[in-house]
């Protein structure tokens, strides 16, 4: 008991010292939008002001100049190295899964599966960066004509369904072998993945948007009930991304302090649930309503803070939209 809570306190203490002014109960703040519309007399005037990046009469307006694209080189490089390490660990977890299946150990297989799935989520790969490989590894059958019986349904969730719905362990061996091959590809691909600055900045909130939309709703891992654990892994991936972006975010507007506050509060909300369930992540349907409300709500607040990241880290002023008339004249 005591040894488990000490590291948590140390973590909390470090976070508090780092950003939150030492308050025992961090205050929520509301991040100001980079472009305020207060003071504009009409929507059209606000849009014109944004396009021209000028200050409005009362001093509101964009305060932040755009970042150069090269500012993202180091954060993305650090992310690729981090993602590569997660993929390496995932390969080991999939191998362990294969061994558990071969020795007829369903309980061990489920545990190995959970670790492998969590590792994949810790990569934080989202939004087309991995394309078909993502579907092969993490796809769900909702869009397939024959659903769970469709031969195109493969990867982690095919295996998940078998492990939790009583398929024979032997029948899952070929799917696990295929997953192992895909993870070998993943280890290569993820270290070289090209991510545009805007896409990377968007990842800061989209990893957890996925969690709220798909994992906490039960859609992403419907048979194991692993949505809460998946969300915790998504939080880890988000922390990794934010840590790479910290040098860029520091001092730019007031985007970072609310993020740190909400990361802390959300982490605590998750930990409270895990402690209440004996140190293990409960299945979604084992959580109480109050636990759901706290986790869902804290995640929502964190997402509101994270949503400011793409705008804060823009690399260009909003480009002026050419008018139809000007294109007619040109063409």
């Amino acid at each position: 008991m005591v040894s488990r809570s000490l590291p948590l306190l140390a973590l909390a203490g470090a976070a508090l010292a780092a950003g939150c002014g030492g308050a025992a109960h961090p205050q929520r703040t509301v991040a100001r939008a980079p472009y305020g519309t207060a003071g504009f007399r009409s929507y059209a005037q606000a849009r014109a002001a944004m396009a021209a990046a000028v200050r409005a009469e009362d001093g509101t307006g964009p305060e932040l100049g755009p970042l150069p694209a090269r500012a993202f080189a180091r954060p993305v490089a650090r992310y690729r190295a981090y993602a590569g390490r997660q993929a390496d660990a995932m390969e080991r977890d999939v191998a362990a899964l294969g061994r558990a299946l071969a020795s007829g150990d369903r309980v061990g297989a489920r545990a190995a599966w959970s670790r492998a799935y969590g590792r994949y989520l810790r990569i934080g790969a989202a939004y087309g960066a991995l394309g078909d490989l993502d579907v092969a590894i993490d796809g769900t059958p909702g869009h397939l004509t024959r659903g769970v019986r469709d031969p195109r349904f493969s990867g982690l969730h095919r295996i998940e369904r078998g492990l939790w719905r009583g398929a024979t362990l032997a029948s899952l061996a070929p799917w696990t072998a295929r997953l192992a091959r895909d993870v070998r590809t993943l280890r290569r691909v993820v270290r070289r993945v090209e991510i545009a600055p805007l896409d990377y900045a968007t990842r800061a909130h989209e990893i957890l948007e996925d969690a709220q939309r798909d994992m906490l709703s039960g859609r992403a891992a419907p048979w194991s009930g692993a949505g809460l654990q998946a969300t915790a892994d998504s939080l880890a991936a988000t922390r990794a991304v934010i840590d790479t972006l910290r040098p860029l975010l520091d001092g730019r507007g007031d985007t970072l302090p609310p993020i740190d506050t909400e990361l802390l509060l959300f982490g605590r909300a998750l930990e409270r649930v895990r402690r209440a369930h004996g140190g293990r992540w409960p299945a979604l349907d084992a959580m109480t309503r109050v636990e759901h409300e706290h986790v869902d709500g804290a995640l929502g607040a964190l997402l509101e803070a994270l949503a400011a990241v793409p705008g804060t880290l823009e690399t260009r002023l909003p480009p002026k939209i050419p008018s139809i008339a000007s294109q007619e004249r040109r063409g």
Binding site: H143, Q212, E293, D296, L303, P322, S323, Q327, E328
Partner: protein, 415 residues
């Protein structure tokens, strides 16, 4: 058989009787407690039920709707036909306005719920009836008369269809100016259907209010954008014959002429996520400005987007929703369909996120040539992250009932 039960059957027969025949509750003599609706033109608006085409297709959209998919449980074809006859009769009666004064027998359950009072105002009510592919299986011997292009809706690339909220043997689209009219109508229509048709899924819809200074401005969907801007013109009869109405003889069974295929898609919108996306990104995903609805770079909602002067998508991205849905080329002109959808809002999901979105409804002459072709183009749009289709189905709306005494679907069951 007791006296009471005989009397009940007689009364039921009267209520089920063909429209226009006075029943125990339709005599309008004298005033009831709510006799003459004193509200404005809205409640008095009457859309004819009978005609070559069903009402509720070209009809302007009123504020409220409910969609009810039903499964046939009738023991045989004859009883299914009786139920569908009663359905049309009751729908005609409600949509044309009726008196709901109580009968003489105060011990009898009233023939109408009374939720709209003693005078049922028409309130622009339309009831549009459509059949799903499953009705044409081997249960009722209808397989040989299936509309040629009616199939079971297969999931598209980003769908997550819930079987419990998808498909159905029969679809009812009930639209009216007031919400209580719509709720009353579904409840009353179910009465003659008991034992023949059972509810499979329902969803309520609402139209956003007219808030634009421009009376021709389209209403907004729950992404905050105007929706329905580029609908084909319903007053253009030749166009409707090319895009909406099935033509008798075009490879279709005779009874389908004047009908139309109804595509319904219940599309969940992830609105909390959407609300955290930058405005410019939203507008680029749609292809229009959010405030005016103008195509990006344009000034007014109904302006042509002029993709021809924007070949590289520097103004309206090549994968913007409106550009993929309707590229406005001669080749894609035949893919346009008549959209008549409603917003929906129905609670929240297991992650505490609002369950709201769009009941997409489109009328097509050929769902494969039109809807499915367009949807496959849209499978690659960036907006897919913010929406999840979860239900709906493909249905066929038969031609209209020709007159009082006729009923929607009579051609299908004709010997």
């Amino acid at each position: 058989m007791s006296l009471d039960r005989r009397a009940f059957l007689l009364r039921s027969a009267a209520v089920l009787g063909t429209g226009g025949v006075a029943s125990a509750t339709t005599l309008a003599a004298g005033a009831g407690a709510d006799a003459a609706p004193s509200a404005g033109p809205g409640l008095a608006t009457r859309i004819p039920f009978d005609g070559p085409h069903q009402a509720g297709i070209l009809t302007p959209k009123p504020a409220h709707a409910t969609f009810a998919a039903l499964d046939a449980i009738a023991p045989d074809r004859a009883q299914l036909a009786v139920a569908l006859q009663a359905l049309s009769a009751r729908a005609r009666q409600l949509s044309q306005g009726a008196s709901a004064l109580p009968s003489n027998d105060v011990d009898a359950p009233p023939a109408d719920s009374g939720t709209l009072g003693t005078a049922i105002a028409p309130d622009a009510l339309t009831v549009t009836i459509a059949f799903g592919a499953s009705l044409f299986d081997d249960r009722y011997g209808l397989a040989k008369r299936r509309p040629a292009r009616l199939t079971r809706m297969e999931p598209f690339a980003n769908d997550d269809l819930d079987p419990a909220r998808t498909h159905g043997d029969v679809l009812l689209q009930i639209c009216a100016g007031q919400r209580d009219t719509v709720v009353h109508t579904l409840r009353e229509l179910m009465r003659p259907l008991r034992g023949a048709l059972a509810l499979r899924w329902t969803i309520d819809g609402f139209e956003s209010a007219a808030r634009s200074p421009d009376p021709a401005g389209s209403r907004r969907n729950l992404f905050g954008f105007r929706d329905g801007t580029a609908n084909p013109e319903v007053a253009d009869r030749a166009l409707m014959d090319r895009l909406i109405w099935v033509q008798a003889g075009g490879g279709e069974p005779d009874w389908t002429g004047g009908g139309s295929y109804v595509v319904v898609r219940t599309i969940r919108m992830h609105v909390e996520f959407w609300d955290r996306v930058g405005l410019r990104e939203q507008e680029n995903m749609i292809g229009r400005a959010r405030d005016t609805g103008a195509p990006l770079g344009g000034a007014g909602e109904h302006q042509d987007p002029r993709y021809d002067v924007d070949p590289k998508g520097e103004r309206i991205p090549l994968d913007a929703h409106i550009r993929l849905a309707n590229p406005r080329t001669p080749k894609t002109a035949g893919q346009r369909m008549l959209r008549r959808g409603y917003n929906y809002h129905r609670g929240f999901d297991a992650a505490g996120q609002l369950d709201q979105g769009l009941v997409f409804v489109a009328f097509n002459q050929d769902p494969e040539r039109q809807f499915a072709t367009v949807q496959r183009r849209l499978d690659a749009e960036p907006m897919v992250d913010y929406v999840t289709p979860v239900g709906g189905g493909y249905f066929f709306a038969p031609p209209g009932s020709k007159r009082a005494g006729d009923w929607v679907g009579s051609g299908l069951f004709a010997a």
